[in-house]
């Protein structure tokens, strides 16, 4: 343990309003901690810069999953264990349930929250590709009110997000409109469990008369932020998924991603595997059509 606990202030206001008030009165002073699976790792390693921490764990307003026939709203404080076990998440947003089950080991999933995953903004995080392809909307809250923003617009750059210092991520809103769509997800890590992704991908799509009517592809660890592959999608829209079309998709993908060499993998590997996975996804899509 490379930090001194005496140097850290820790406040537990106990309610959402209390937390927001604190953030509002001293913006930028307080770092929220939910499950702590990012913050506490930094702390243990002596790398946590913030000195004042604000407890979000178990604030009930952040831990609800609510739904209507058309929508599902996930509180930012929901853990991955909660998500993967939730019937509606499994049924309507299986890629998200899948990503939840890939996020570290079982003990990690009992603490790690979805808001923590999103706000931490690692390009290699597992839930963002699924959230991107489901076109999630984020609801941000401060003492002054709430605002909504498309998740696709949330990440501004490497570890930079649209979240303001006074704000919390209150909820993730999803539309139940993907029933019957083709779906695909893959995670490539250094081992089968508890591994940070070297590449992760999620995709949903629809074919009509053999042509691509809709296609959303999200990828992690191939750019400074989680990436929605708009150009690749566009290149494939309206096409029949022939070998030529797939090769074209592969080419577009390689212009769209910009992976790097880091301690976990190499740029070359990531480019090659990203392209392989895209191809695999498209072949599956062509073969299975909408029968996901």
């Amino acid at each position: 343990m490379r930090s001194h606990p005496a140097e850290y202030d820790f406040a537990s206001p106990g309610s959402l309003a209390g937390v927001l008030e604190r953030l509002d009165s001293e913006p930028g002073e307080w770092l929220p901690v939910a499950g702590g699976t990012e913050v506490m790792v930094q702390y243990g390693a002596g790398r946590l810069r913030a000195r004042r921490l604000l407890n979000l764990w178990n604030i009930v307003d952040l831990r609800q999953i609510t739904e209507t026939s058309e929508h599902l709203s996930i509180g930012g404080g929901c853990t991955f264990a909660q998500l993967r076990g939730h019937v509606s998440v499994q049924e309507h947003f299986p890629l998200l349930a899948q990503a939840a089950s890939w996020t570290g080991g079982i003990a990690n999933q009992n603490r790690a929250t979805i808001a923590g995953n999103i706000v931490n903004a690692s390009p290699a995080a597992d839930s963002p590709p699924a959230l991107l392809v489901y076109e999630a909307e984020l609801e941000l809250i401060s003492a002054r009110g709430t605002r909504r923003i498309a998740y696709a617009d949330f990440h501004l750059g490497y570890k930079k997000t649209a979240l303001q210092p006074r704000e919390l991520l209150l909820a993730i809103h999803l539309q139940k409109r993907f029933a019957g769509w083709f779906r695909y997800a893959q995670k490539t890590g250094a081992r089968n469990a508890q591994a940070i992704s070297k590449i992760c991908v999620a995709a949903v799509g629809k074919l009509r008369d053999g042509r691509v009517e809709a296609l959303h592809i999200g990828m992690g660890a191939v750019a400074p932020t989680p990436l929605r592959l708009r150009k690749t999608e566009e290149a494939l829209l309206g096409t029949i998924l022939t070998e030529d079309a797939i090769a074209n998709g592969r080419r577009m993908l390689l212009t769209e991603i910009a992976p790097i060499d880091d301690i976990r993998s190499s740029a070359e590997y990531r480019r090659q595997v990203a392209a392989n996975l895209l191809e695999d996804m498209l072949r599956n899509f062509a073969a299975k059509g909408n029968a996901a």
């Binding site: 343990m1 390693a45 490539t188 081992r191 089968n192 590997y269 392989n276």
Partner: protein
């Protein structure tokens, strides 16, 4: 096959009496001695122990690979008066961790030779203040050029150790290798490399030291070899031998990683304790343990072999090189074992092995399960598959035709006198794994498959005990005594760190005394109490120390009988009562036994010829893998391990040893990569140094052939290291089969496979000349 009797892995552990002999305890799955404490969480490891007034120590380390220390400044923001600070000047005796040589400083005085080399020690009552204080020490260096690969080291442009960067060289030259090339139908060459490997025991290194002028120095530590630490601390402190006492506490895994480094940490804690007058604990965190302590030696092996078209091996010319890091530590002995094992489990009419251990500027590499053998055997077993492929023979047939057999001699000229039958092990392994049908089917189905499957084998041997004259020099002693309460105790410095020392030795003692297992216990592993039974390494505990315990037990029994307190037969309570009476009457009951070298074992350290080991364990392993052509990831789907390790003293423990070793071997082959940045491990965190999880290990199917070995306790040979040797080559052979591409380097990561298969990067020269 009369001599063989086999049993399958536990599951339905065989009952007492089903074994070869008529023993009651040896051969049964006796429960782990310290097992209840471990499952309850009451076992006390080093970080679980504290003493009144104890303070905490930390180490200031070098940030560069090589240079001269110019200036040390104690920076702002730290109340330095509150800290105890120790430098090389505070060392009362020699500034060295004494192993084979004394070139390894305890604290760098004016020069550093690797990143993370200890320079200063700090201590404070509040352990949380230490990281900041360590960071506040500023050290200025004159940076000197450093060496970071075996190639740079052997080129010798920069000399970083001795006259030529060479710690040690060996030469085995048997027959006439140079005359063999002309008779060959094929000459096959290859280069094989292995990477560093981190032990990653879950219990980090740590030690506590306490010192008073009257009582001297006591060290408690997580360690394998209390008497190594003892020797080192006597040399460092200049204290008399009886004023230095080393106590091993419960040790949470070691695998060779706690053979030499605990002497270093113990020395550091001792210096702080002597200066502060208070007990001092130094506990490494995971990152410090990973970046600063030893790893397995990286290696490079070049093999050139002559073979006939019938698959008869004629000659091998082997060049085996290891990277020893910055100081000599145990590199010479690791190299020795690697050299002797380089020829593998085969008969070579002519063989030459030239080997050397080189200096580079990274932390010293050290002992790791297998001790050089996994490196050279990896090369040989990969090479055998390539030879087979070059001459168009199946890998198993080539091996079968060249196996060592009774009467044939190893590379050092040791005639095999054990009744070994490798062909039988091979046949059994092939049958159990369904090898032949799979090999054929995979080859057929792989061509267009997105998931390619492969199956590969490795056949190998592992010498038990110290190499050559090692055991003779060690001159180990083990004892048995009785307590005033009539408890029988085993007295050894052989330590438990998970492998089962306590259990096995108590089984042997109980068997030899003719009493219940529960009536025997281990004396505390404390150099003030136990005799020096040698280090707990080299798969020597069951075979060598076990035999000594056996003799000591018999001696103790005879003493009791001679004193008239024990008759011709007895129950356990009768025996204990007799022992108790003996202690009460005569003050003590103790029996020691000293190692006596077998008369038929001869070894010449100069020519490297003779009986390298008193016995060998033998094995054939089969790995089945899938290579995913989308991600280039390899999964091991099935693993069969068949071995002959003499008598199996405890089937549960033995099976666990094999399984654990295989899992480490899988990690060595496919996951574990130390990423070096100018001699420093850059991925010193569990999140970035990848070992297998419960979801990465295939079913490991373990089978023993039992062939009691005459010189070991109840027929035992070594077992602990053997399973480290086979997995990597078996797996790489399987991957090479699956992909129809030669892979000759480990760790083999998905990135490497991607480079070769997708990006068509060519391999370094490895011609197959005909």
């Amino acid at each position: 096959m009369e001599a063989f009797r086999s049993f399958s892995r536990p599951g339905e552990p065989p009952s007492i009496g089903e074994y070869l002999g008529k023993e009651r305890i040896v051969g049964t799955p006796a429960l782990r001695k310290e097992g209840v404490a471990k499952v309850r969480g009451s076992a006390r490891y080093i970080d679980d122990i504290s003493f009144p007034g104890m303070i905490f120590g930390a180490t200031v380390r070098s940030s560069i690979a090589r240079g001269r220390i110019q200036k040390i400044e104690f920076g702002e923001g730290v109340i330095w008066d509150e800290f105890i600070v120790v430098s090389a000047k505070d060392i009362p005796g020699e500034n060295a961790i004494a192993l084979i040589n004394k070139d390894w400083p305890c604290l760098a005085a004016d020069r550093v030779n690797h990143p993370e080399e200890p320079i200063l020690l700090l201590a404070h009552p509040d352990r949380h203040l230490l990281p900041k204080a360590v960071a506040a020490v500023r050290i200025e260096y004159e940076v000197l050029p450093s060496v970071h690969s075996m190639e740079e080291s052997e080129r010798g442009d920069v000399i970083v150790w001795g006259a030529d960067n060479v710690f040690k060289k060996f030469l085995i030259d048997n027959g006439n290798v140079d005359a063999a090339w002309d008779q060959a139908d094929f000459i096959v060459e290859g280069e094989y490399t292995t990477g560093a490997q981190e032990h990653l025991y879950i219990d980090n290194n740590g030690a506590i030291a306490a010192y008073t002028p009257d009582e001297g120095l006591t060290i408690w530590g997580s360690m394998q070899c209390p008497f190594y630490a003892h020797k080192s601390l006597v040399c460092l402190t200049g204290l008399p031998e009886d004023k230095v006492r080393i106590i091993q506490v419960e040790t949470g895994g070691a695998f060779g990683g706690k053979e030499d480094y605990p002497s270093m940490i113990g020395a550091h804690a001792a210096l702080l304790a002597m200066k502060s007058g208070r007990p001092v604990k130094i506990m490494y965190d995971r990152m410090e343990d990973m970046v600063a302590t030893t790893k397995r030696h990286p290696s490079r092996t070049r093999i050139r072999t002559a073979v006939t078209k019938e698959g008869k091996l004629l000659a091998a010319d082997i060049d085996f090189t290891t990277d020893g890091g910055a100081y000599s530590t145990l590199s010479a002995t690791v190299l020795s074992r690697g050299t002797i094992h380089a020829g593998g489990a085969y008969y070579w009419p002519n063989i030459r092995v030239r080997s050397k251990a080189l200096a580079t500027n990274c932390p010293p590499h050290g002992a790791f399960r297998g001790f050089g053998a996994p490196q050279s055997l990896f090369a040989m077993e990969r090479h055998m598959d390539r030879v087979a492929s070059a001459i168009g023979m199946s890998p198993e047939e080539l091996r079968r035709r060249n196996f060592l057999r009774p009467g044939l001699a190893t590379a050092t000229g040791q005639k095999i006198s054990e009744d070994v039958n490798l062909e039988h092990l091979l046949a059994r392994a092939l049958t159990i794994s369904g090898y032949s049908a799979k090999r054929e089917r995979f080859s057929r189905e792989n061509i267009r498959a997105k998931k390619k499957k492969g199956i590969g084998i490795a056949a190998f041997l592992h010498g038990s005990g110290f190499t050559g004259s090692g055991e003779r020099y060690l001159n180990s002693v083990a004892g048995m005594d009785a307590t005033a309460e009539g408890k029988l105790r085993v007295l050894v410095s052989s330590t438990e760190f998970g492998q089962g020392t306590n259990t096995i030795l108590c089984q042997i003692a109980a068997e030899s005394l003719g009493i219940d297992y529960d009536a025997v216990e281990m004396a505390p592993p404390d150099t003030g109490i136990v005799p020096n039974s040698g280090p707990t390494v080299a798969s020597r505990t069951s075979m060598i120390v076990g035999k000594l315990v056996h003799s000591a037990a018999i001696g103790l029994r005879q003493t009791l009988q001679a004193s008239g307190l024990l008759g011709e037969s007895w129950t356990t309570p009768e025996f204990c009562e007799a022992a108790k009476t003996h202690v009460a009457k005569y003050g003590a009951l103790r029996s020691d036994s000293r190692y006596e070298p077998p008369v038929d074992v001869h070894w010449d350290d100069q020519t490297y010829r003779g009986e390298a080991y008193a016995a060998y364990a033998w094995a054939v392993y089969v790995a089945e893998v899938t290579v995913d052509m989308l991600t280039y990831g390899v999964t091991v789907d099935d693993f069969v391990a068949v071995q002959e390790v003499g008598r199996v003293l405890n089937p549960t423990l033995a099976t666990g040893q094999i399984e654990g070793g295989v899992a480490q071997g899988i990690g060595y082959a496919l996951y574990e990569k130390v990423q070096w940045e100018r001699g420093r491990m850059a991925n010193g965190q569990m999140t970035n140094y990848i070992i297998p999880t419960s979801q990465d290990i295939p079913p490991i199917r373990v089978f023993f052939e039992e062939m009691p070995f005459g010189h070991g306790a109840y027929g035992a040979k070594g077992i602990g290291e053997l399973p480290m040797d086979g997995p990597a080559p078996a797996i790489l052979n399987a991957v090479s089969h699956a992909t129809d591409t030669d892979f000759n380097a480990i760790p083999l990561l998905a990135e490497d496979i991607c480079l070769r298969l997708a990006l068509r990067q060519t391999v370094p020269v490895e011609a197959v000349a005909v």
